[in-house]
Symmetry: C2
Subunit: 372 residues, 2 copies
């Protein structure tokens, strides 16, 4: 018995659909995970997130470690009891936030020392510490700590980060005590195929329950990002869940599904929802734009989300302009629905063997062309 | 046929319970109206507000006039279609906000000139303009424009404001074109019984569909406020709905129900909910207090609201401390439930003839004593 397993029920080109089994329920894939940074998907009740169709959410280990602290979460019965989300939760390793948010960080072969961005306390993250925190939180799918320092296009830095990530792989696995929690390894290597190759070989050689592609969408050009996704998605082990980390725009997700990835997370739908940037079938729109001042129609005529069924653009614009809390909330609902609907449509299309036309129609509406 | 009517079904002491009939449905009284300032009860979906038991909400004429403007609201089908709230809506006259928010205001016998606090545009509010805006919004219960300038304890100022309010009464009524919308008059007069008397006599002599007590809780001492409420509540006409404006804390509401008022509005539950000040049967608590850091129990053991049924104090405190949008939202839900539950309990107690003991038990839990 492994903590998670994926059952692929249909394949269409390189895209695949199936079911990811976890100890807290099964998830149809491809699946999008809304980001619940500090133990809540911002502004949303757990039952609303589930009502939109999400079956798994992501929580950030760094944020929860800094505040309120994993020990408090455990005392309160774990992250599920604490937050009220009873479905599966994937936690990241905390590494990415240490590298993007924390101060005065110094990395060495053993781990990384930093000051957190809230209290400025000196803290240390190692593979053992990361797994310890994730287990204390009660994560269902844990991520191995990796070195995310490499600038994707700098071969020396990318190689260094990849080697350190590789060296930490067995330490992450050895640190796991909760054998019911899955642990995924992360492939690094920047834009360099030989580094990616070495990283993938090392990661797949270990008994990780799933494999993630990391270090993507970290500053590289869009075509470079697409090439990495398209090249490495299909090469991740078939029999294990494939997780593309932190991606991305709807068109990137469609292309990543085409490359055979199963699960995704991204802050865009929630973050953009809060700032009036709303996803539609014809691209992203800024709801603060004056053109929506007296628009009676919904955000997107093609959308059947709870917001589009009930509210006009004019009302949404008014809420954003007036800084009414309901604006960010409605924008979040709409954007999450858009992402989750994209996944529903993709699953259905793959099952029917019509993913190529689903993908083409989706991209055409956005004025884009499908990749190779 | 009058636009609204109240049917009193039971009386207990001076307290009364019944049904307020409006063109958009009937409301059991005593009733609390959540405040939906700019067309939304902050952070709440209309169906959630209704789900907590609210049957009527208040919208602020000043805010909607300044942004997005009543003409836009009309173009969008009126405030109900615009905001998605299909039940009755009471609008204030805009006067109170002009006096509390606007700049450079000058009042004369015809009306008030001011610059709004958003764009700084020069605007003018008269009884005719106020009723015009309220009708354009599509209000179900409109409030007459009154002069709220009087400091409650200054007899000269209070007399001046009352006289002007009195002089404007017929102008408000004459301005009404929508005969399906109710129009309430407001009794002013500060802390002075002879002024209140004169104001009440003038107001009741006009065919207003309901009578409100205004100029209460505007800076006077608590005992003075209570005396005004207790004195004047029972003297408002029996056969018309009695509205106590902008009051108040839970204990004030209990006392105001005891004085025979039917409908109430106040920003406290929503405003305090956003800043972690939560109402409980034992008084208000600040959820940011360190004592709640690891409290597993709900906000209030006696509370059956959706928040108390699901979330711990520890989680709520974490949300507020982390500035998570869900904190203000959950606090708002809890506080609104508390206010609406207070009304449910009062209605039930009046029907059973046990309001005195309901009131006493309620106040005892708060460590207060019932008034005369």
């Amino acid at each position: 018995m492994t903590p998670v397993s994926i059952e692929i029920s249909a394949q269409d080109g390189k895209a695949r659909t199936g079911v990811l089994h976890t100890r807290r329920g099964s998830i149809e894939t491809p699946a999008f995970m809304p980001v619940g940074t500090a133990g809540s998907v911002k502004g949303m009740l757990p039952e609303e997130v589930a009502g939109l169709g999400a079956r798994i959410i992501l929580a950030n280990t760094y944020h929860l470690h800094v505040r309120p602290g994993e020990e408090l979460v455990r005392e309160m019965g774990g992250i599920h009891a604490f937050s009220g989300w009873s479905g599966p939760i994937l936690t990241d390793s905390g590494g990415y936030q240490v590298f993007s948010l924390a101060e005065l960080r110094t990395i060495d072969d053993d781990g990384v020392t930093f000051r957190d961005h809230i209290e400025g306390s000196r803290r240390r993250l190692t593979p053992e510490a990361s797994i310890g925190i994730q287990e204390t939180l009660g994560s269902d799918i844990m991520m191995a700590l990796d070195d995310c320092t490499g600038a994707p296009g700098d071969e020396t830095l990318a190689a260094q980060a990849m080697q350190r990530t590789k060296a930490w792989l067995p330490r992450n696995l050895a640190a796991r005590k909760d054998q019911g929690a899955a642990l995924f390894g992360i492939v690094q290597g920047g834009l360099f195929d030989d580094l990616r190759e070495e990283s993938l070989e090392a990661t797949r050689a270990h008994p990780f329950d799933g494999i993630a592609l990391g270090g993507v969408s970290v500053g590289e050009k869009r075509e470079e990002m697409r090439r990495i996704i398209t090249t490495w998605g299909p090469r991740l082990p078939w029999e294990r869940p494939r997780y593309l980390m932190g991606i991305g725009k709807p068109e990137d997700l469609i292309e990543s599904i085409a490359a055979g990835f199963d699960i995704f997370d991204c802050v865009l739908p929630t973050r953009h929802g809060r700032t009036a940037q709303l996803f539609t079938s014809r691209g992203m729109i800024n709801m603060r734009n004056a053109v929506y001042r007296d628009r009676k129609g919904p955000i997107d005529e093609r959308c059947a989300c709870p917001v589009c069924r009930k509210f006009s653009c004019a009302y949404l614009r008014h809420l954003y302009q007036s800084k009414e809390m309901l604006g960010p909330r409605l924008g979040t609902i709409h954007n999450l629905w858009f992402y989750l609907e994209l996944m529903r449509g993709a699953r259905e299309a793959i099952r029917r063997g019509s993913f190529a036309s689903y993908r083409q129609a989706f991209l055409q509406r956005l004025g884009e062309e499908a990749g190779a």
